[in-house]
Point group: C2
Chain length 347, copies 2
């Protein structure tokens, strides 16, 4: 007893408290509160009443220990303050809480050194029943480690080696954006992409979009302009910088530019206008995403829906946990061109 008191079990109604007060065994309480059969309606009701009167809620640690399930799924993401990521997070959350699951958030910001530790120690600690990875730059070892976890796993927003994933066809999306410009008569097209030099990181999206752009240009027979391929990092500021880079360089300028994200596209538009380059009259700009700001800004873009993608991924995980093996599988999400007013026919 001394032990128990010392461990601070003071506040917290246990199943036993309910059982006693209801005059039944803990087993019956357990069945009753979980809505299991083999309890008469009468006793169930009595138990439920007592439970709510006492404010009883099962300890997740205890039931987790007993069942091996935690009813929480993890979300692993590189950022939480970037559009795709917070939208997706929103989607996961929505789907999860609707089902009474908890969401455990892991953010592996940069390529920090303490990363590995976090990964192994904290995540693998059986905290979670399943994991949803958001389009993360993962090393091979990390991926390997995740697989070893042996829990349902799905990637959203970008392919992850050997792992079912949900997301748009990035190559096709970038190609679509490029084609839109081509069809408007543009021939001098630049791109603001996000490809990093860093290798060994499993972050394909920027590369895929760049590929889509180049592929479409090639298909069309347009020439390459390596000097018009400039790198950004998916932020608004980097888009503005990209415009400067393009315009500060001597020589001819592109008449249009496709951006690997709306944020960068908006950066380009804003900076162009600030420097007196009219959009779309002198420069057409198209993005990918359909950020909520894009509509107000009138940005032409290739839209995708991260919330829906994340919800789908979550649902698959939940289905899998519910016993429907094979629920988790690859899905190419939808995307579509939304023409607004940052693109126009070449003059």
């Amino acid at each position: 007893m001394a032990v128990r008191a010392a461990r601070g079990g003071h506040h917290g109604v246990s199943i036993e408290d309910v059982a006693k007060k209801a005059g039944v065994s803990t087993a019956t309480v357990s069945r009753a509160v979980r809505g299991l059969p083999r309890v008469s309606e009468k006793t169930r009701q009595r138990i439920l009443d007592v439970a709510s009167e006492l404010g009883y809620v099962a300890s997740s640690a205890a039931s987790g220990l007993a069942t091996g399930k935690t009813r929480t799924i993890g979300v692993l993401t590189p950022y939480v303050d970037r559009w795709f990521f917070y939208k997706a997070l929103e989607g996961v959350e929505r789907e999860l809480h609707r089902q009474g699951y908890n969401l455990s958030l892991f953010s592996l910001d940069s390529r920090t050194l303490e990363r590995q530790r976090t990964f192994t120690k904290t995540m693998v600690a059986k905290h979670i029943d399943a994991l949803l990875v958001l389009c993360l730059a993962l090393s091979m070892e990390e991926i390997e480690e995740l697989r070893r976890l042996d829990i349902p796993l799905v990637a959203v927003g970008g392919p992850v080696e050997d792992c079912p994933s949900i997301g748009i066809d990035d190559v096709a999306a970038a190609a679509l954006a490029t084609r839109h410009l081509l069809e408007l008569g543009h021939r001098d097209i630049g791109i603001v992409h996000g490809e990093d030099d860093d290798t060994d990181l499993n972050f394909q999206v920027p590369i895929l979009r760049l590929d889509g752009f180049r592929g479409e240009l090639e298909r069309h027979g347009s020439g390459f302009h390596p000097e018009w391929e400039v790198r950004g990092n998916f932020t608004l500021a980097s888009g503005a910088d990209a415009f400067d880079e393009l315009w500060n360089r001597p020589g001819p300028k592109p008449t249009a530019v496709v951006c690997a994200s709306d944020e960068m596209a908006m950066g380009v538009v804003l900076q162009a206008r600030r420097r007196g380059v009219r959009v779309p009259e002198e420069l057409s700009v198209i993005g990918i995403d359909d950020h909520e700001f894009s509509q107000v800004m009138g940005l032409t873009t290739v839209a995708q829906d991260p919330v829906a993608q994340a919800q789908l991924g979550t649902q698959m995980l939940l289905d899998e946990l519910a016993g429907k093996a094979g629920s988790v599988h690859d899905v190419r999400a939808e995307f579509e061109l939304r023409v607004r007013n940052t693109t126009s026919a070449v003059s």
Copy 2:
């Protein structure tokens, strides 16, 4: 044994496995892996080796049950896709994982009906050791329920009844924004606020900012223009709508407008320019927040730092959990005027 196998305990190295293989008791393993004293360096090393060889990680459910601690703290937020909130979330995450804590995210989107359920059932289930509430619209019953949880609690970004909170002085921030306009010579000033009609919800921020605005005007002796007080909901789109509302109304227009958030301010700027009203020549606009887009857009604003606020709040919670009673307390966070180019002297 049949039981154990049936419960899927197959993958999962237990403390006993380690103990056996290392030839010690589970108690010693427990001490060793947690870095507790009373273990010789020799055995500790041996245990650690075995543990890592076996890939042992303590089950959080088991240790949670034994200790009554979960090493996870909850974050309760109304949105995850709005600036202040995702920034704060980022701050919490950063601070938490640095300390090996987990983050459990609860999003109580709208005033949905299933809200109550989520609240009670899921949250209160002892999942968490402490809770950080993000500037949420809470009903009195909900607040009451939170207090009953009897765990360290702190609010960030907006006052919550009877609960220590970290955030800027919203009245002062709005007053500062207003004063800036006044000092530029503006006398016809409008506001885009976010005050909702909904009562009984503990979401003070919009009201406080509106108060700050009105107070400053009054202090200055400027007249009120109720028709220039228009409501938004903190989004870019609502800012654009607010501009329309202001400009579509017959009669004189304000020469300046303060907005309760940068997103709304940007909406106003964008819509003004689209409709041919020059900013800042014909209309000065100031926001509150310093959204990452604001710098690129050149928006004048009163800046605050949600990441820092959240980190501070998290640290307080952690300190409290570490035994430093009284660590959680009110803090007025900093804010400062950042003049850029959406405001200018009245012409």
